[in-house]
Amino acid sequence: MLQTQALRRLNVGPIDLSLEAGECLSLMGASGAGKSVLLRMIADLDPHAGDATLDGERCSAMPAPAWRRQVTYVAAESGWWDPLVGPHFPAGTDFSTLLPAVAIAPEAASWLVSRLSTGERQRLALLRALRPATRVLLLDEPTSGLDVDSVALVETLLRRELNRGVAILMVTHDPAQAKRLAARHIELHAGLVSEIDL
């Protein structure tokens, strides 16, 4: 479904990857290896060489926002553009069913973002990226800093997305988590990816 062709930026690349619908691929590598650089390239968030395709449609041939609505990057550090939680979700969002899925009270929709813990923010940042149009999720350490229960919640959420046919490329430092969610594992080393066994 998703394919990258010779993506290259800074010290990373050329990277050729393919990802099928409903597949989860884990990405490991030392700090500074360029894992975030790679995810951001796939989302076309930085200038780079090479291209990516989604079902054969080239990223460079469609408007960037249209690409990113389907191939969505979720940063390790979540960003918030409104003081309140609610406006970060589309108008008409039913918070009463949405928020409990990540163990957050439905009333939190009217709270200030600054009132939330780091873990809660991370879960909400993931939640707002799960939209009907999403085909590929590029997750940068989605569960770092979360407690065991929250990790389980997030993983349940991700499995639901995988079952829906969404493909996931996920940076993780936890081999156990990589094994729980992904069937294939890659490592980024010296700018190149290689498949590894865990």
Partner: protein, 264 residues
Amino acid sequence: MSTPVPGAGELALAGTLILLNAGLSLLLQLGLARELLVAAARAVVQLLLVGLVLRTVFHLQSPWLVAAVLLAMFASASYEVLSRQERRFVGLWRFGLGAGTTVLATLLVTGFALLALQPEPWFSPQVVIPLAGIVLGSVMNGVSVSLNAFNTGLVRERAAIEARLALGATRYAALKPMQRSALHNGMIPIINQMSAAGIITLPGMMTGQILAGMAPLDAAKYQILILLLLSGAAGLGALATTVIAVWRATDERDRLRLDRLETR
């Protein structure tokens, strides 16, 4: 009615106030004396020099001389705009944005005012130079404050902006809040100035004209004209600046391009 022009005696009398202040500062060890005296001396020298230069320019009535004075004013305003930026764009945009929009907005609004005032001759230095000067000052403030707020905001709010872009927002939508708040910052001074005009303070220009013998209502009309010109010019300059800044801080693939800002 006679218009009293202050002579050397009156100026010296006003100067004793500064000396008194400086003396008090020395006595109370406030450490202000030196700064105060230097600033006062600067004001005296600078204003007398400007008076001398303008006397010559007014006397000669040459359009080229007027143009040269404007050029010097634009150059110093450009330098001022540039030096007030904490994060500047790299390359030619460093000058093009801010300095460029300041000069353009000033020329546009001054030209517009000249069309309305119809001075004789049209380049009359008595009208063009003070008019361009006061408009330039206002645009310079609006532009430099807006641009600085915008660029520092981009760096500060990077995560928020990129989160929106990553979710499929266009660059214009993702930067809208930043643009709005930068414009707001740039326009606050002139908005405050208009709101307070006549109630909290008599604007300096109107005060000067009344002291120089102009009828209060005529002075008020002049002041209204100037305030409207100033706010129009500052708004125009700041708007153009933020529109170009949004365009330049992003690219055609709707990416945030902080690499186009200087790193400190």
